[in-house]
């Protein structure tokens, strides 16, 4: 749906984007993460058509939108709904009035405008706040109105720039739920730029890691967590190193990653049973990526067939990421 090709942008000799290439499939959510100064904001501003890249292309449905002007540019902007970073609502307009702004720009007549605003208020769960002014809303409510505004003109792409940076964890959840619903109910393709891995954990299908103006990692979240050296897996999976364990108590010590209900629930007991080994979880924990439970455990194994048990876990769908004690070749 939206592709970014070899985008570069330099500010006064300092390179902010250095050949960024991304691809977001229709109806999916891509999280762009990275440390401060990695170029996330510049990328977001280029996609929002607020900044023109020095070179490269941004294609929506195959059409390059980076070199448009005038009314073509304004039309392209309506194809990309933007939830800007920070407070961006008109303080002198009601919530409903703010949502109506893109519809006014698009020349949608009054009655249709009101209907559409009603639908969007419903989508973000703020129907009762239609007549409230931004200063009468909480930060999370304002951000949901900003999402509704971004969706008003039926864009095919929704760009959210740090949508949760000023919010507490609870309100963050409500804003992410709304973004997720936009994808699920409207089929919008979502690009969310964030420094918060929690956003990736909760709503992203894909993730791209930006560092020094370059994409250093790009793929499906559930694939990347299985890759032990990926930045995504180390950032998203539960830490295993918190309590140093006495490795001498075990024949084998290894870290495994398990994805999905079946793997998390049944794989380890079955391995223990099948190979007659003692299998203890000595570190790590369980988390969720979207709706999928994902675990990273540090296992301690005792028994003659420990290696076979680990190998079997790997074959049965788990990923043995690291063997701390035992033959390194076991890692799948």
């Amino acid at each position: 749906m939206i592709t970014v090709e070899n985008l570069t942008k330099t500010f006064q000799g300092v390179s902010a984007l250095n050949g960024v290439t991304l691809d977001v499939e229709a109806g999916t959510v891509l999280g762009v993460v990275g440390p401060s100064g990695a170029g996330k904001s510049t990328l977001a501003r280029c996609v929002a058509l607020l900044e023109r890249p020095d070179s490269g292309a941004i294609r929506v449905d195959g059409t390059d939108i980076t070199s448009l002007d005038g009314s073509a540019l304004r039309a392209a902007r309506r194809q990309i709904g933007v939830v800007p970073q920070g407070d961006s609502l008109l303080r002198q307009r009601t919530a409903a009035g703010n949502i109506a702004l893109p519809l006014e720009s698009a020349g949608v007549p009054g009655p249709q405008r009101r209907t559409r605003v009603g639908e969007l208020l419903d989508l973000v769960g703020l129907t009762d706040k239609a007549a409230a002014y931004p200063d009468q809303l909480s930060g999370g409510q304002r951000q949901r109105i900003a999402v509704a505004r971004a969706l008003a003109a039926n864009p095919s792409v929704l760009l959210a720039d740090e949508p949760t940076s000023a919010l507490d964890p609870e309100t963050t959840g409500s804003v992410l739920t709304v973004l997720d619903r936009a994808r699920a109910e409207l089929g919008v393709t979502v690009l969310v730029v964030t420094h918060d891995m929690g956003v990736v954990r909760k709503i992203c299908d894909d993730v791209a890691v930006l560092e020094q103006g370059k994409v250093v990692e790009h793929g499906k979240v559930l694939d990347l967590v299985n890759n032990p050296i990926s930045r995504t897996s180390s950032a998203l999976l539960p830490a295993v190193d918190l309590n140093p364990i006495n490795e001498s108590a075990y024949d084998r010590v290894a870290d495994v990653v398990l994805v999905g209900f079946a793997a998390v629930g049944a794989l380890l007991p079955e391995a223990a049973h099948r190979f007659g080994v003692e299998l203890n979880i000595v570190g790590g924990g369980l988390t969720r990526l979207g709706e999928t439970p994902v675990a990273r455990f540090r296992l301690g194994l005792n028994g003659e067939r420990s290696d076979s048990a680990l190998e079997w876990i790997g074959e049965a769908g788990g990923a043995v990421q690291r063997s701390l004690k035992g033959p390194q070749g076991v890692a799948a």
Binding site: R74, R78, V82, P84, R91, R93, Q136, A153
Partner: protein, 227 residues
Amino acid sequence: MRSATPWSDVISYLVEATGETLYMVGVSTVIATLLGVPVGVWLQLTAKGGLRPNAAVHRILSFVTDLGRSMPFIVLLVALTSVTRLIVGGSIGSTAVIVPLAVGAIPFVGRLVQNVLSEVHVTVVEAAITTGASTLKIVRSVLVRESMPALINAIGVTVIALIGYSAMAGVIGGGGLGDLAIREGYQRFNDRILWSTVAWLAVLTTVIQFGFTRAARASDRRRHASV
């Protein structure tokens, strides 16, 4: 020593002069607002970081604006005589004063308006840009509407300033409260008229200021305006 002017006469003097002042200031404020707001908008649009940055246009406009503001009003009053005659068909009287008052106030309003518009947060303006709004739409619905309370206050400041300027209207026979205080009060040693006029001017400006403050607040939808 003459006996003091009777209070009934003082009051009729004040009523007449107040009418002249309000006429001169009122009409020139309307004209200065109609022409000064676009100047302020243009200044802000062409400024660095504005919607249509254009250094050359901005510099020229700034220069002209500051030139206009630096001109002492009394000089403007006499310098514009021929222009005034062309526009209103005469160069004396209250109506004639309106021309220099308005001309003097346009750059004043322009600067005030630009300052006010520049206070609208860049995130809010950019958010409007991303909705595909045209420049005209952003000026109307975002810059001007979001600044409405401050704009109303700016017009209030202009009215008070114009009341001050209009005190010099007497030079070309414009009348008004300033003229009353100077000619009937000060120059004829009539303390009663002088101090009555001063007191009335204080009341008048206070009331006008109060009115504009209330109007500004009424137009404001932010926190303190709730319900």
